[in-house]
């Protein structure tokens, strides 16, 4: 993103190349009007999956039309369900989607997390088998990482996979598995060598949630909803071909995936997706004029930081295109983005005053959204873990 005074006007004039023209025409024809409200709230997201209930015909239509063009995962190769866009085209894609305020046709952990890991570590057969159903929104994935005894110390996972020749026999418990109760499959960190040092005995396994021995139990959170679950594995048989990467090298996959997860979480923090509506404008709406000088000053600072963090995300994406991934710096993006998002929601609560204190009150789910952000600086690695990663891996300070 370039920060422009009049983003839309500038965008109209820049690079009106063939791709943009064609895309714009396609969007005009194919994006249903109901999907042009830019909504990103939890209840407007299309997550897909076998049990997905579309909230409207438009939502279904929008997903199907995008999936047919590879637009649910625009940068993935065409063979695997994507549109094969390069970075420049991807930018145009997002600009044009934002221009008409289009909702994302599909969001999922398959897209954000498993997909990138499979693209990097998976075999060609695995990619052909697992990626297209993700792109089409047919299979919904969840992430089995944390355990009661493995939070910040993630490599301490104890869920165990016993080698039974043609399969692993998996026993153990995961926690904070987002939407495990709604997911079709799970990618999980499982200890397959109990003798090896903790980072060297973990494998990255794919499991069908319908398999015998898999149970989930939702956890009610402070926001009133239950996006997280506990997931239990009792004698679950996992065929040997359902491993990503090498046996006992799952930590490499886990780390790679985490960098994507962190970038994804930080993007939400910058508040720049979906048109990047300025915080000041949001607050203005609520307060009918931002007359509170203290709130205004705080919101200005938050806005400045949002814009700068948004630019940083773009900069790292550009570098990724040039072959330099964000790598350890994704910890920086995650830390800065999530801390900012918490501030942003605190300010929106202040702006909402007592109206914001009601569940489903005049401001909708503002309180629920606010409470949800408190997990941002915990999930995917806490802010403190992020700072430790920066300290050790970027600054080279002793561990």
């Amino acid at each position: 993103m370039s920060v422009e005074t009049t983003p839309d006007a500038v965008r109209e004039e820049t690079a009106p190349d063939a791709f943009r023209e064609e895309l714009r025409a396609w969007l005009e024809e194919n994006c249903p009007q109901e999907m042009r409200d830019g909504k990103m709230a939890e209840n407007s997201i299309c997550w897909g999956g076998k049990n997905w209930q579309f909230t409207s015909d438009a939502q279904k239509q929008w997903l199907e039309r995008c999936a047919a063009r590879g637009y649910t995962v625009p940068t993935w190769p065409k063979d695997y369900g994507g549109a094969g866009l390069n970075r420049a085209q991807e930018k145009i894609f997002h600009q044009e989607m934002d221009r008409i305020n289009a909702r994302k046709p599909l969001q999922s952990f398959g897209i954000w997390m498993l997909g990138p890991a499979l693209l990097h570590f998976g075999s060609h057969e695995q990619k052909l088998h697992y990626l297209p159903p993700i792109a089409r929104g047919e299979i919904r994935w969840c992430q089995g990482y944390s355990e009661p005894g493995a939070g910040s110390d993630l490599a301490n996972v104890q869920t165990r996979g016993e080698d039974k020749g043609d399969h692993w026999l998996v026993n153990g418990q995961k926690i904070w598995t987002s939407y495990a109760d709604k997911a079709d499959w799970i990618f999980a960190l499982v200890r397959t060598d109990r003798e090896a040092p903790k980072h060297k005995g973990i494998s990255f396994l794919l499991m069908n949630m319908e398999d015998a021995g898999v149970d989930t139990r939702p956890i009610k959170m402070i926001s009133g909803i239950s996006p997280f679950c506990e997931t239990f594995f009792t004698d679950v048989k996992v065929p040997k071909d359902q491993i990503v990467g090498e046996e006992n090298r799952g930590w490499d996959v886990a780390k790679y995936l985490l960098t994507h997860e962190r970038e994804m979480i930080s993007g939400g923090g910058a508040g720049l997706s979906g048109g990047g509506r300025a915080l000041g404008a949001v607050i203005n709406d609520t307060m009918e004029g931002l007359t509170d000088a203290t709130l205004r000053a705080d919101a200005m600072r938050c806005e400045i930081d949002s814009l700068a963090i948004g630019l940083t995300l773009e900069r790292y994406k550009d570098q990724a295109e040039a072959g330099q991934g964000a790598g350890d710096a994704s910890a920086m993006l995650k830390y800065m983005g999530t801390e900012l998002n918490k501030q942003r929601h605190e300010l929106m609560m202040t702006a909402g005053g007592s109206d914001a204190l009601e569940w489903d009150g005049p401001l909708g789910n503002r309180a629920g959204d606010w409470l949800r952000t408190k997990a941002n600086s915990i999930e995917g690695g806490t802010s403190e873990v992020m700072l430790s990663i920066v300290s050790r891996r970027v600054l080279g300070l002793p561990g």
Partner: protein
Amino acid sequence: MLADMARGFLDGAAPVAKLRKMRDAGDTQDSALWKEMADMGWAGVLVPEAQGGSDMGYAAANVLAREMGKTLAVSPFISSAVIAATALRQVADARAEAALARIAAGEATYALAVDEGIKFDPEATQMTARADGNGFRLSGKKQFVVDGAMADRLLVLARTDNGLTLFDIPADRAGVTRDRTNMIDARDAARITFDDVEATGEDVLGQVDQAMTVLKPALMAGQGALAAEMTGLAAGAFDMTVGYLKERKQFGVEIARFQALQHRAAHLWCEIEVTASAILNAGRMMDADPENAALAVSLAKARATQTATLAVQEGVQMHGGIGMTDAYDMGFYMKRARVGAEWLGDYSYHAEQVAAARGF
């Protein structure tokens, strides 16, 4: 790469030790260094090749400013090579071209005389340029004229009958009195009094009553470069601090082992990294779309001010007592950061610009 080349040069030719030496001697100008910078094309970084410049653009100018910030190199780079050159480029006449050629050659240095009160506020200019025959008479006072005590020429903002007008006059013209100010950062600055100073129509840069056409791009260029310098300054202070954490021992171990300090250092690195993005964006926008670069520039200056302030505060704190001593270099970074924070608009000024552009 330009940055590596600049770093190599500045580490040798303009380390902080040089600033210290100049301060101790009471010098605010390093003419030999500026001549070398001119020979490398830095003075003419924004001057067209036809006038002997290297014409590398704003992104490149910001790279140079950032590297100068790291070592606190003393030069009139921002005043002359960035602000004055940008102002002169807005005016397409032979006189301006000749002036650009002198800047590129390192033969003429400039200072921008805008501020009259304690805060940057060009629109509030009170200094007058009274019409007098074919010319003008300039009367009034300017303060915080950075590089103004030693500059050869002054860009002066004054009020004319129907607006503001920018003048380009020699600093030694009759009626100009310059008082060098003893600045905390040991850099050149002056309070300047104009007592019925004669100016001709030739001295007007751009059109009468239309100063902002010329001045606004020049200010944006200067603000962007200053933001880059401050980000370099933050990085310089940060590197020094991390180096110290790795070497200083307490309780029998390097203090870099303490998580409280690790996290402070890591947080500071994150802030610097985010600000660096805003600087890059500002340079890119100034090169590609200067008409719409105002938000990008103010964002950069606001972030740079915050980040540099944090970097020097954390620098002193993490150094402990030694960071408070004059013998140690950290203090130089702190003082320059404070001056940079005020020059060409402070945090509040630029935050308001961002707010206005973002619909607050």
